[in-house]
Structure formats: structure tokens, C-alpha cells
């Protein structure tokens, strides 16, 4: 039964990937027909140099956010976290703001600063968590993650305030809402090089996630290596997320919601839920990005679409859950 579901999801995802190649705004809005491709040389170029790298990027971004979200939720035993909450998202936002408002606004400055501060966000969260003297490690990390994210949010707010409203602020707002509109092959290859190994690691450890979601004493009775496994998986998830966020901006809700939906489809066992998350995440983000670049002549920021649809799905899930509990 579950295999049937997984196969269905796989087929849908494949259809999405292939189908999205045919949608865009050149030479005309929405569908690009085969005859268009044969008659106009530029269409093929648009497909190979603009659409395909962007499609790959969107898919990988979705996969990374969903898989990282799954890993974080299981390791932190908390269904309300995603990979960004340990200061990674906030740091990236701050870095990009810095790049736009203070560092001149070149692509390298924005992406570089975003990546740098995303990783430093994690470092700060870690250091502060070590210094907190109460609570177990889950509580400590969550608290410090919240604190670090709040600091970065303040910094970003300050930069927004200082940004020139005619040039910098719109660019900043656009970045903060997320989008893949400027992706080139270079970006895609860089991200793939970093994220593919991370995704492989997360995939290989998928059964261990079940184990790591147990309480500490239980895990201790079963394995000796839990600490470093946890660190490895968290780092992997954070590195992949940082790579993706510094190119794509803030794309919210994917890491939070897709794992839940995956669990609804195939159960909570991470052995099945993680691969399902991967596919659903890629599918969802690719869908949103295709809409984002095709629906209107102006780009719709990706984060707006993922938030709308993501939050909508979340509400549906919440309301459905109540019904489920009454039955069980």
C-alpha cells in the first residue's frame, strides 16, 4: 500500500520535472510548444541556459529544505522546527541585507555574505547553547537558536531601515521574500556540489533518525555513537540549507510543512518518510517556482507562494488531525 503511494508520488514528481521545462514566458507566456522549440533557436537556449538550471535548483532547494526539516524535527523531537531556526535563516537574511545595503549589492557580495552569516548563525547558536546552564541539550539549542535568530532579525530590521527606499529596499525586500529568478548554471553547479553529498548522507542515515528521535537514555541503551551521529546530521542539514538559502533567499514553510505531509502519506517511520519528504519537497518547490516565473510577466517572489500554499496546507493538516484523534 505504501509502495503504491510512493510510486505515485515518484511519478507525479517526474511529471512535474519534465513538464516544467515546457513552461515559461519565452517566446510567449505559459506553454512552449515543440514547434516553438524547433523554429526559434533562442527557445532552446532559454531552455538550456535559463530554465533547466533553475528547475534543477528549485528541485534541489525543495529536497534540501524538506530533508533538513525532517532531520531537524526528528533530532529535536519537535514537529515545529526546521533547519533554519538555529540562526541559519536569520543569519542568511542579515548577510544578504548587508550585501545589498552596505557592500555594494553585487551578486558575489550578497551570496557570499549570506553564506558567511548563515554558518556563523549556527556557530553562535552552538556556543551560546554550551554556555546555558539549565535544561537538556534540546532545550538549550532551541533557546539559543531563538535568541540568535532574534538578534539577526534586529540587525536585518536596522538595515532595512537604513536602506534607500528607491533602490536598496525593494531589492532587499525581494531577496527576503525569496526567489530563483537570477539563477545561472554556475549557481546550480555550486549548490549541487555541496548539497548532493549532504542529501546522500541524510538519505543513508534515514533509519537512524527514528533512533535519534527517542529520548536520550533509550538511545544510550542502544547505540554508543549517538552524539556524533546527531552532530553529523545537524551539520549536514545546516550546510545544505545554508548553501540553498544564500542563493534562493528566504523560502519559508517548506522545511516545516513538507515533512508533516510526507508523514501523513507514508507514516512517521523516517525510513519511508525521508525519501517521501525529498520527493514532495522537490515537487512542491518546483511547482511554486514554475508558477512564480510563468504566471505573470513580473516574478512573484517564491517565498510568498510557498508561504501561502504552505500555510494553507498547514491549516488543513491541523484541522484534519483533530478528526483523526477522535477516531483513534
Amino acid at each position: 500500500m505504501t509502495d503504491k503511494k510512493t510510486s505515485l508520488i515518484f511519478i507525479l514528481t517526474l511529471a512535474m520535472v519534465i513538464g516544467s521545462v515546457f513552461f515559461g514566458r519565452y517566446p510567449a507566456p505559459y506553454m512552449t510548444s515543440i514547434s516553438d522549440m524547433l523554429s526559434d533557436n533562442l527557445v532552446l537556449k532559454v531552455i538550456t541556459d535559463i530554465r533547466i538550471p533553475r528547475i534543477i535548483m528549485a528541485f534541489i532547494t525543495g529536497m534540501v529544505l524538506a530533508a533538513s526539516g525532517t532531520a531537524f524535527q526528528m533530532i529535536f523531537r519537535n514537529p515545529l522546527v526546521d533547519a533554519g531556526f538555529l540562526g541559519v535563516s536569520g543569519g542568511a537574511a542579515f548577510g544578504a541585507s548587508l550585501g545589498i545595503v552596505v557592500l555594494g549589492g553585487s551578486v558575489a557580495a550578497i551570496q557570499g555574505a549570506a553564506a558567511l552569516f548563515a554558518v556563523s548563525g549556527l556557530a553562535f547558536s552552538w556556543v551560546i547553547a554550551v554556555k546555558i546552564r539549565f535544561g537538556d541539550w534540546v532545550l538549550r539549542l532551541i533557546l539559543s537558536g531563538i535568541a540568535v535568530s532574534a538578534m539577526f532579525a534586529a540587525g536585518t530590521g536596522l538595515l532595512k531601515y537604513l536602506a534607500d527606499p528607491l533602490r536598496e529596499l525593494p531589492e532587499l525586500t525581494f531577496w527576503l521574500l525569496g526567489g530563483l529568478w537570477a539563477i545561472t548554471w554556475t549557481d546550480t553547479l555550486q549548490v549541487t556540489a555541496i548539497c548532493l553529498p549532504c542529501l546522500v548522507i541524510l538519505f543513508l542515515f534515514r533509519w537512524r533518525l527514528n533512533l535519534l528521535s527517542m529520548q536520550d537514555e533509550t538511545i544510550f541503551s542502544l547505540v554508543a555513537s549517538a552524539s556524533w551521529e546527531r552532530i553529523l546530521l545537524l551539520l549536514t542539514a545546516v550546510i545544505a540549507t545554508s548553501a540553498v538559502v544564500c542563493k534562493a533567499g528566504q523560502v519559508g514553510w517548506v522545511g516545516l510543512i513538507i515533512p508533516h505531509i510526507a508523514r501523513r502519506f507514508v507514516g512517521s517511520d523516517a525510513q519511508k518518510a525521508l525519501p517521501c519528504s525529498l520527493m514532495l519537497g522537490g515537487f512542491f518547490l518546483l511547482l511554486c517556482d514554475t508558477v512564480s516565473r510563468t504566471l505573470l510577466s513580473g516574478e512573484i517572489p517564491l517565498g510568498i507562494l510557498t508561504s501561502f500554499i504552505g500555510a494553507g496546507l498547514f491549516l488543513i493538516l491541523l484541522m484534519n488531525r483533530q478528526l483523526q484523534l477522535k477516531k483513534g
Binding site: L204, W207, N210, L211, Q215, S225, G267, S268, D269, G328
Partner: protein, 257 residues
């Protein structure tokens, strides 16, 4: 009768050695027996189990398992022969019972392996032993607390440990389920495993324990068979309150005054 666990002069404290939870404890636990650990709240019953598990390190004394010190074994090896069922197992996600029990196979699996035929069989057997086969595909969150406790034990059994530690296994169970759990533990011991469990209820200890340990803060009050240890004197000393022991044809019956 082989000695499964040999505790020698064990002392442990959470802060300074001047404030020990356990002090100079020396006992031998034989394989194939059930040992009950009794004491008031907070004296260190759970701590003792964690020391046996290796989660805490004593500042004095030795622990030998099957004649060899704990440090002799590789950590991964110890996980194969000591299993534990904690008091409050919280499971944040709704795993199926089967998937949950399979977690017990972790010590026998490679780092990146998925559960194989052998592991599935072991889980199946474990569920059969506790009598929960019919719930194998249900979600954990759908179970009653009694059923949950049985599944926890199944998970520990799937681990195929030689030593099974249980922390207050009957605490959330009603009369009938409690009895079932005790009989299960007796059953497991009869298969050759060493069972150590903590409990509040001296009558439970009386029912199935081969040996009983009475703990008071910092000291071992008594260690021996149920008949020898469950006396009014020892129990009053253990609990700091007048305890009455009434002999019955089924064994001693303990009552607080």
C-alpha cells in the same frame, strides 16, 4: 549459576563524594534471576540502573559483567547485552509498533543498515513474547499505557540482551496489567536472562523477585531473598515510616501504617 552482574564497592554521587547517592555497594546478581530494587522516592533506584547501563560513571568501585569489568567490553558490545526500559518513554512521532520495536535491533545493525530479515524476525518474536502481535501495524500513540509498556519491553527484548533493566515497569499499569508485566518478567528470567527492576511496591517484589535490594539514601539496607529482606525492621528503615509485614500462605504482604 553464573554471576551476571557483580557490583563491587560501588559509590556514586551527582555532586561531591561527600554527598553520595550510593556508597560502597557490593552485591552479586546471578544470571536467570529477577532482582527487585526497592526504596523511597529519590533514593537512587533509577540511578543504580543507569550506573549498570553505563550512563553514569561511579567515582569508586567496579562493575563486572559476566566476570569481566565493564571497561573491558567495547561500548558497542555492551549495548548488545544490556537493555533498558525507562519509566516514561516519550515518542514524539507516531511510529508504528513494529517500527518502534525494530529500534531495539540497532546494536546488532551496522551504522547505515536498514533492518533485515533477521531483525524483522527478532521483532516479530519479541512482540509475540509480550503478546502484542495483533497491534504490530498500529501507531504507538493509539495504544493504552498498558499496551505501551508492553511494547517498550518488546523493544528491549528485540535487542536480545542478556541483562534487562526496567525502571518502574508497573507504575502506570492497573491491577491486571501489572500482574501480566510481573509474570512476563518472570518468564524472561526463566529463559536465562538477568532481570533487574525498580519498583515502589514491595508486594510486587515479593511476588516474583528471587532477590530484593532495599536502598536508602547512600546505603544498601538489605540484600537477599524476599523472605529475608521484606521484614518490618528493614522496611521501616528503608522507608522511614512504620511498615507492617503480614505473612500469608502466598508470601509476605506488606502494608504501610
Amino acid at each position: 549459576m553464573t554471576t551476571a552482574i557483580c557490583i563491587q564497592n560501588l559509590s556514586f554521587s551527582y555532586d561531591t563524594p561527600q554527598n553520595p547517592v550510593l556508597s560502597g555497594m557490593t552485591v552479586d546478581l546471578a544470571a536467570g534471576t529477577v532482582t527487585a530494587v526497592l526504596g523511597a522516592n529519590g533514593v537512587g533506584k533509577t540511578t543504580l540502573l543507569y550506573l549498570l547501563l553505563g550512563l553514569y560513571t561511579p567515582f569508586q568501585g567496579d562493575l563486572l559483567f559476566f566476570g569481566k569489568p565493564g571497561t573491558h567490553y567495547k561500548k558497542s558490545r555492551i549495548k548488545k547485552f544490556i537493555g533498558m526500559v525507562s519509566q516514561n518513554e516519550t515518542i514524539p512521532f507516531d511510529l508504528s509498533v513494529n517500527a518502534y520495536v525494530l529500534l531495539g535491533r540497532a546494536p546488532h545493525m551496522g551504522l547505515l543498515s536498514m533492518p533485515g530479515q533477521q531483525d524483522l524476525k527478532a521483532a516479530e518474536n519479541a512482540l509475540a513474547t509480550v503478546g502484542m502481535t495483533h497491534m504490530a501495524d498500529s501507531g504507538i500513540t493509539c495504544l493504552s499505557s498498558g499496551e505501551r509498556q508492553l511494547v517498550n519491553v518488546a523493544r528491549a527484548l528485540a535487542q536480545a540482551p542478556d541483562i534487562l533493566l526496567l525502571d518502574e515497569p508497573c507504575s502506570h499499569l492497573d491491577l491486571v496489567n501489572s500482574r501480566q508485566m510481573l509474570l512476563l518478567m518472570k518468564n524472561i528470567a526463566e529463559q536465562g536472562k538477568t532481570v533487574v527492576f525498580t519498583t515502589h511496591d514491595p508486594n510486587a517484589a515479593a511476588a516474583i523477585a528471587d532477590k530484593v535490594m532495599l536502598l536508602k539514601k547512600g546505603e544498601l539496607v538489605a540484600f537477599g531473598t524476599a523472605i529475608d529482606t521484606l521484614t518490618s525492621a528493614f522496611l521501616t528503615k528503608t522507608y522511614g515510616n512504620r511498615i507492617e509485614v503480614i505473612p500469608t500462605s502466598h508470601g509476605p504482604f506488606v502494608r504501610a501504617i
